[in-house]
Every structure is written in C-alpha cells, then in structure tokens.
C-alpha cells in the first residue's frame, strides 16, 4: 500500500477508516466524508503531527484513540456524532495573492 500513488479509490469504497494521525491521511479521508478513527502513538510521532489530530478531534470531525484503546473504541463508537468537515478554500488564497502581486 505504501507505494500506491493514490488511495482515493480505496477510500471511496470504505465505510470506516482507521488511520494514523498523518495530516494527509486525515484530510483526504475527511474530504471524502468518510468516518475516521485516528490512532495516535505519542511515542512514535513528532509532536506536531498530534496538533492537527487533536484539533480535528476537538472540533468533532474525527474519533481519537491510541493503540491500546482501539478495540474498545470500535465497540463503543457512535459515528453519528462526527461532524462534516468543510473543505478548504484555495480560492481565498488566489484572491489574496492577486491583490498583493498586483
């Protein structure tokens, strides 16, 4: 899987995604509007990777757990509590850039 160019197809078919806290994985999954459980491993991860996972969890977009609580989370999860994740707006960036570059 590591060397697949894109997981888009697999993501499209999934009902639930269990992922590490990498930003790309989280964001791609959220964009496809699939429920996601983010598994964090504080020993392995750079601290900054946790930032996004924590924020997404705070905002109710993802479920979080660590390796030891994964089974428990799967058994007791309520996916309906997850809120949809609004898409980013690159057009705002384009507008900004047009203004400053002239």
């Amino acid at each position: 899987f590591r060397f697949k160019d894109s997981l888009a197809e697999d993501l499209g078919r999934a009902d639930l995604v269990i992922s590490h806290a990498g930003a790309g994985s989280c964001l791609e999954t959220l964009e496809k509007r699939k429920p996601i459980i983010v598994v964090t491993n504080e020993k392995l991860m750079n601290n900054h990777q946790l930032e996004l996972a924590k924020q997404l969890h705070r905002d109710g977009h993802v479920l979080c757990c660590n390796c030891s609580t994964l089974v428990e989370t799967l058994q007791s999860m309520d996916l309906s509590t997850l809120k949809p994740f609004p898409p980013g707006q690159p057009e705002k960036f384009a507008l900004f850039l047009d203004k400053v570059v002239g």
Partner: protein, 169 residues
C-alpha cells in the same frame, strides 16, 4: 516533500494563468513530488493552453530531527546550491509552505534582493498541520517573508504579523 507538495499544489489550484512560468524546487531526496507536480501541471494544461513549468532539485537542507549544528552546515550547503539557481530563475514571487527545502531558496531570494539584482515577493503559507505551533521553517521565515499566512486562528494570535485567511487547503 510529499505532504508539503500536495498542500502547495492545492494552494496553486485556483491561481490564474498570469502566474506563469512556474518553477518548482524540491529536495533531491524527494521521490514522490515530481510525479505529483507533473500530474497537476498535466491537468492544468487541459484548461490553460500556455502552461509552462520547470522542475529543479536542490540538496535537502535538513533531515527530520537532525541536530542543530549539522543542520546549519547542510542548510548552508543548500544555500550555496540554490543561490545560482535562484539567480538564474530570478523569480518575481516565491511561494512556499514549510519544508526545509524552502529556507535556502528564500534566503537566496532575499540575498538577490539585497544585492539589487532582483526583488522577489516572498509569501509563506504555514501548513494546515500547524495548529498551535509554527514549523522551524515558519519560525525563521516569519521574520523574512513579505507575507506570512497561517491557517488556524491560534497561530494568528501568537504571531500577530501573520495573516489569517481561514483554511486554505
């Protein structure tokens, strides 16, 4: 590097054709960015007929968790390498989003400006992954960029000179 490339390509997605030609610079150790960039440009050329872009590699400035002292050395080496490249390209605008690779390029662009050779506008967009703290590149370029954009409000509070436009990617 991969994640940064995916993000920056999203940032580019709405730019008009006046942002041309586009020069992509990435680390020599980066295996995946080239494919992503080519695919992006390929799609773009389906809409815009006059799409021009180039690809260049420079030595990677710093590995993850590389020590301070050796990072300074490797970054200096990357600067020496990127200076002639930046001089050749003479960009009007330098756009970056945080990989270590961007620091030598921005420094080169700054030097060219200071020497009166070419003044580029430097725009830095911190990665969406950065919610509460800035990356090391961000901490450095906060002081040296013309426009420093963050994607989460906490960072705007901590770094008042930054610009918050909401989530861009």
């Amino acid at each position: 590097t991969g994640g940064h490339t995916a993000e920056i390509l999203r940032l580019l997605s709405c730019l008009s054709e006046s942002y041309s030609p586009r020069h992509y610079i990435f680390a020599d150790s980066d295996k995946m960015s080239e494919a992503k960039i080519r695919s992006f440009e390929q799609k773009r050329s389906e809409t815009f007929s006059n799409s021009q872009f180039t690809l260049d590699r420079i030595p990677r400035s710093r590995e993850v968790r590389q020590s301070w002292i050796s990072s300074v050395v490797t970054t200096l080496y990357s600067i020496l390498y990127s200076l002639p490249l930046t001089y050749k390209l003479k960009p009007d605008l330098v756009l970056c989003n945080g990989p270590g690779t961007c620091v030598p390029v921005c420094i080169s662009a700054l030097l060219l400006g200071l020497l009166g050779i070419k003044r580029a506008i430097i725009v830095y967009v911190e990665s969406i992954c950065r919610v509460e703290t800035l990356s090391l590149s961000g901490k450095i370029l906060y002081y040296f960029s013309d426009y420093f954009i963050v994607q989460w409000p906490d960072l705007k509070e901590k770094y008042p000179k930054s610009i918050y436009l909401g989530r861009l990617v």
